[in-house]
């Protein structure tokens, strides 16, 4: 397997405070990799640095063979690395259809867009019923579905998902994770950030455990789920 994303010694600072103290991680083509850790561990910061919303103070981020650590966020999106933003980030005063339309903003291949839309709506049938409705009036779960469908329409090679289960009912969380698997099965590599370690480890191939800005553990997701340290700290048994 070849590395699609390679992060080396990434340091990110907020003013004088160092939030990430040099983390390194690799995501291979076709994998689901999850980044787990508690509040304030630096999970979201890592994603933001990778997608270019936050500048890295030092370290390198190589995506698909090119260093993207100095590139503008919109340029990174064009190279195929797409983040579904934290807090869902749908456009509340636009309809579901308009939101999806913006997902395909960087694309011009209308026939392919139409196919991808069908595929996305196939995964999220609920959205089809809501096409004309304002995104802000959707339920939390539906908004998360919309954010994911919109990110899929951008046709990413690597999809970054930030806390897709945040604030959702357990049943909807199940659905969301089922769909994450399906998106991955259709060829999209996924880097997942989650507080819900149990679910995250179930769907991923590999995982990294982040603690106060450092990677403290990494490896096969199944093995991590059964390791004592992770079980005590994050799985609660």
């Amino acid at each position: 397997m070849s590395a699609l994303l390679e992060v080396k010694d990434l340091v990110v600072k907020y003013g004088a405070i160092e939030a990430l103290h040099g983390i390194s991680l690799t995501v291979n083509q076709g994998e689901i990799v999850s980044l787990i850790g508690s509040n304030g561990a630096g999970k979201t910061t890592t994603l933001r640095a990778i997608s270019g919303i936050r500048r890295a103070a030092s370290g390198s981020i190589v995506f698909n063979g090119a260093d993207i650590s100095r590139q503008a966020a919109h340029a990174i999106v064009r190279s195929g690395l797409v983040q579904s933003p934290e807090g869902r980030g749908v456009f509340p005063n636009m309809t579901v259809a308009e939101n999806l339309d913006l997902g395909a903003f960087i694309r011009n291949d209308h026939a392919e867009i139409a196919k991808d839309l069908e595929r996305a709506l196939g995964l999220f049938p609920r959205l089809r019923e809501r096409m004309g409705q304002m995104a802000g009036t959707l339920s939390g779960g539906e908004q998360q579905m919309l954010a994911m469908a919109r990110a899929m329409l951008t046709k990413p090679r690597l999809l970054l998902l930030d806390e897709p289960s945040l604030g959702l009912a357990p049943q909807i969380v199940q659905t969301i994770f089922k769909i994450i698997r399906e998106i991955n099965a259709s060829g999209t590599t996924i880097l997942l950030v989650e507080q819900n370690a149990r679910m995250a480890l179930q769907v991923s191939h590999r995982a990294y455990v982040l603690e106060t800005g450092k990677i403290v553990n990494q490896g096969d997701a199944k093995e991590l789920a059964s390791s004592d340290v992770v079980r005590k700290a994050y799985l609660g048994h």
Binding site: V77, Q83, M94, A97, I106, H110
Partner: protein, 370 residues
């Protein structure tokens, strides 16, 4: 906004070359201008025709400001500055151009050349305003919200002060020839530029009004418009869709400034002597009021607000000393009843009550309720 369903129907390349889509709207603009031009003298007297010309100028000002304040959600308070740039450039072009080429201003024998000078001046004013928009936009669009408002407010004030410091107006061809490039500082200081012939009749005004509305409409429903509306909704989400924030914000700023320059250029040709106060805070605020009341992002809202708010003081003139009170009261009621402006971000034909009215659903629903 083009929906994805429409994407599917489009055969690539076909729509863009269809002559009726390309050409017809522009022809319609000319027709609108001609209709207004020939119908108005029959319907209203000279006084109201003048009011109508003023309405037209403010429609352009409001619709253009709507591109940056409405679509992109960037609160600019310097629109009057761009308008004043356009007004002075266009006015001085016509005035000094006439002196230079003909030796006198406002001579009936020079009428058609004068119109030519006016159009050239408006074009020039549009370009200069656009350049000013670019220069102001590029550094200040790194700022958000209140800070952007303050910087743009400062721009308008800078223009106002600069205009106040200019020297007296020249009034004969010989002096104009001598002055050469120094003409730029002969803009008559605080008392304002006088004697610009009012070449902008109803035809020209409403030609520019309809063209501005058409441009604004096309932008709103293009990918640029989509990008701008997404920036207004959520900058981070827009960025993660691949929208280049700076590029689109600057684009909106330049477009708004250019069209604001056109509004100013016309303003100086309707017999309203442009003065430094036209660049100031008060005037900027007048235009912002139109945009906010019409609904941020709604073209038809801006148009309607401009028509109503310019006509209202004229109609209320009968009530003399009470008219400002009534005016203020109407504004307060508006903000309570429709806090998002008249139409919000929608156009009038997209509103439920409007479409319902015309398809007869409204009556059915009423009948059903009984």
């Amino acid at each position: 906004m083009k929906t994805l369903a429409q994407h599917q129907q489009d055969v690539p390349g076909k729509v863009a070359t269809r002559w009726d889509v390309m050409l017809l709207p522009w022809v319609a603009c000319i027709v609108v201008a001609l209709v207004v031009h020939f119908a108005s003298p029959v319907l209203v007297n000279e006084y109201w025709q003048n009011v109508l010309r003023r309405v037209g100028v403010f429609v352009i000002a409001a619709v253009s400001l709507n591109i940056v304040n409405g679509y992109a959600g960037q609160f600019s308070m310097g629109h009057a500055g761009f308008m004043a740039v356009g007004a002075y450039v266009a006015g001085a072009t016509t005035y000094y151009g006439s002196l230079l080429l003909h030796g006198s201003v406002n001579d009936p024998n020079f009428y058609y050349q004068g119109i030519g000078l006016m159009l050239g001046g408006i074009g020039l004013g549009c370009v200069v305003a656009a350049i000013a928009g670019y220069l102001v936009g590029l550094p200040s669009l790194r700022l958000r919200g209140d800070y952007l408002a303050i910087v743009t407010l400062g721009f308008g004030e800078i223009i106002r002060v600069m205009l106040e410091l200019t020297k007296g107006q020249l009034d004969n061809a010989a002096a104009v020839k001598d002055a050469g490039a120094k003409l730029l500082i002969h803009l008559n200081g605080p008392s304002g530029f006088f004697g610009i012939p009012s070449y902008a009749n109803l035809f020209w005004i409403f030609l520019f009004v309809s063209v501005t509305c058409l441009i604004a409409y096309r932008i709103k429903y293009s990918s640029t418009g989509r990008a701008l509306l997404s920036i207004r909704e959520d900058e981070i989400a827009a960025r993660s869709m691949g929208v280049d924030l700076t590029k689109y914000k600057v684009r909106a700023f330049v477009l708004a400034a250019a069209l604001g320059g056109v509004a100013g250029g016309l303003y100086s040709h309707i017999g309203a002597n442009p003065s430094p106060t036209d660049a100031g805070f008060q005037r900027s605020f007048d235009v912002i009021l139109l945009v906010v009341l019409g609904g941020l992002g709604s073209i038809s809202g801006s148009v309607l607000a401009a028509i109503v708010l310019i006509l209202l003081p004229e109609v209320l003139r009968e009530a003399q000393q009470y008219r400002l009170i009534i005016f203020a009261l109407l504004l307060i009621i508006m903000m309570i009843v429709r806090p998002k402006g008249l139409f919000g971000v929608k156009e009038i034909w997209e509103l439920d009550w409007f479409t319902g009215w015309f398809s007869g659903k409204r009556r059915e629903r009423k009948a059903g309720a009984k």
